[in-house]
Every structure is written in C-alpha cells, then in structure tokens.
Symmetry: C2
Subunit: 151 residues, 2 copies
DNA sequence: CCAATATAGGACTGAAACGGTCCTGTATCT
DNA sequence: AGATACAGGACCGTTTCAGTCCTATATTGG
C-alpha cells in the first residue's frame, strides 16, 4: 500500500496538472479502487491536493522538491509507533536502565531511517536511479557530525 | 510489535542463559501475552531457540554478533513486499517505462534500508549509543561503490 | 517412578484493520 | 437547468491481530 502511494505521488511529481484517480490508476497499473483510496489518504494528509467536479483530480500540494517520501509513508501508515519509556522520574525505572538503553538504540535507528527517507524528495524519486545514493551520502555526513559530538 | 521484538532480542543478547517469557516481559515492561507471542514468532523464525519444561525459556539461537536486526524484523513482519513489475517481455509494458523506473527507485531504497538494518547486529544493539553510527557509515561505503559502478 | 510444577506450543475468539463497493456531494460544461 | 465527471465518505465482508486459554513437554522432589 505504501509503495503504491510512493508510486502515485512520484507519478504526480513527474507530470503536470491534476489527474483523475482513474487515469493515475491506469498509468501506474494499480487497481482503481486502491489508487482512489490511497489518493484520498494522501489528500487528507496534505501531500496532494484534490479538486472535485467534472475536471477534478489530484495534484501535488507542493513542489516535488519539498515533499519527502517519509511524509508519503506517514500519510499511509501513520506515525511511527515509538515505544514509550516509563517516566524517568519513577523509582521503578532505575532497575531497568539497560532496558532503556536498548530502547534508545532502537529509537535512534528509527529516527535515522526516518530522517534519511525525509531527505529523499518526490523530485528525487522521479529521476531514475538517483534516489538511494543521494540519501545515503547525506546520512553519512550527519553520522560524522554525531560521531564528533560523542567524542 | 517489531520494536518489542528488537527490545526482547536485544535483552537476550545482553544477558546469559534461557529466560522465561514471563521474566522477559517483566524486565522489558512489555505485556506478558505480547512478549510471549513475539518470542514464539522469533522461535519459529529461528532467531531464538526455545526450551520447554520447568526450567525452560528462550535464548538466542546464535551469537548476537551473527543475528542482524533485519532478521528480527522479518520474523515479525514477514518479507518486505516488493510490488512486482509487469512482465518485461509484454508489449503493454513499454508504455509505462517511466512508471517502472519509479518502482525501481522505490525498490532500491527498500533494499538499501534492508541492507543497512541487516548490518546492525543484536550485539551492536546491546551496546548503548553505537548502533546507528555503525550502520550509516557502512551504507555510505556501499553508496560510493554503487556510484562508481554507475559511472 | 510419579505427581506437581513451570514452562513453551498452539488453538480459539472477539475486536480492529483493511480492501472493495457503492452512494452522496461538488464542480464543470452545454 | 440538466448531464456528466469527478472526489468524499459510508458500508460491508474478509483478513489480521492481540488476548485468552487449553494442550504438550520437561524438570524436580518425594
């Protein structure tokens, strides 16, 4: 479902003007009901804008350079569920300090992946073969900064 | 659910010997039924080994250095769903070449994230604060290799 | 050896999520 | 104004999921 959303959003990024859900489904070979559902979700999340009526359809809400694919993912899947630590001021929490560090690592990874995906825009996705490389080199730069901060 | 699995698996990595699901749930503050379910899945996937009986419990199936967290993730969520392109030999496919490139980008990103997560082991996760940095610098090295391959 | 106990394995069930269908509301065009 | 094409949203059957509970297995002590 999420990959459908990315495909549809990228198609909108690569083409001009509003497109009806039916046309988008045809072009992306996604079943029409599914495409419609996905587009509705994207519209509710503000990733795309919708226009009702005879010449209606969907278009990107902003320019493709300003929409990260993580936004597309969240529109479909909702926010990443972060498992909450117990209140840090609670006495019982002190027993589980190792546990909390485990959670912290996991959350760091989640955030890093989320950030990397946020840095890939729909414009990147519309250009064959570049999306992945762009994101990973940016994240490496950030890793170097964080490593410096640790030392 | 997946984060619970990672937390549990990491706890097993950080501690010795088999632990009953109840104890693991207590230590990780995960609801006991949920912890039990998750551990059963991990056992079926071969990430952890289980021992029935009075002194039974769960332990890692291999050393923590040899279990990537992507394996943990797949045990819970199953394989990443890859949207299939149409048969490349089909005539109708040629109309949608742009569409196929979009899918290829998305698949590349999926694979890159999967690879990065595979390179983080449970041993990494058990050490506070290191997991993320390790993964990102390795992926950057791979990006450089792929870029060289493109040129 | 056997009963008691503690554990994992697995089945069952109701609730929630999901995907498809279809009706309603809105906007455009003639 | 009426016809048409579209998105928005409700409905419904199916699937998935989380919790509960029963069954099977292994250990221990009498």
């Amino acid at each position: 479902m999420t990959d459908y959303a990315v495909v549809l959003a990228t198609h909108l990024a690569a083409t001009d003007g509003p497109h009806a859900a039916r046309d988008l489904a045809l072009h992306t070979q996604i079943p029409e009901p599914t495409a419609s559902k996905v587009l509705k979700k994207l519209a509710r999340a503000g990733v795309v804008s919708s226009q009702r009526g005879a010449k209606g359809g969907y278009a990107l809400a902003r320019s493709a350079e300003r929409i990260g694919i993580h936004e597309v993912i969240e529109a479909i899947e909702g926010p990443i569920a972060v498992t909450e630590c117990s209140d840090e001021t609670s006495d019982s929490f002190c027993e589980y300090e190792t546990n909390c560090e485990v959670r912290a690592n996991w959350q760091r990874i989640n955030l890093a992946v989320q950030r990397a995906l946020s840095e890939i825009t729909l414009a990147d996705m519309a250009v064959p073969g570049t999306a992945e490389l762009v994101s990973l080199s940016r994240s490496a730069a950030e890793a170097a900064r964080m490593r410096a901060g640790l030392e």
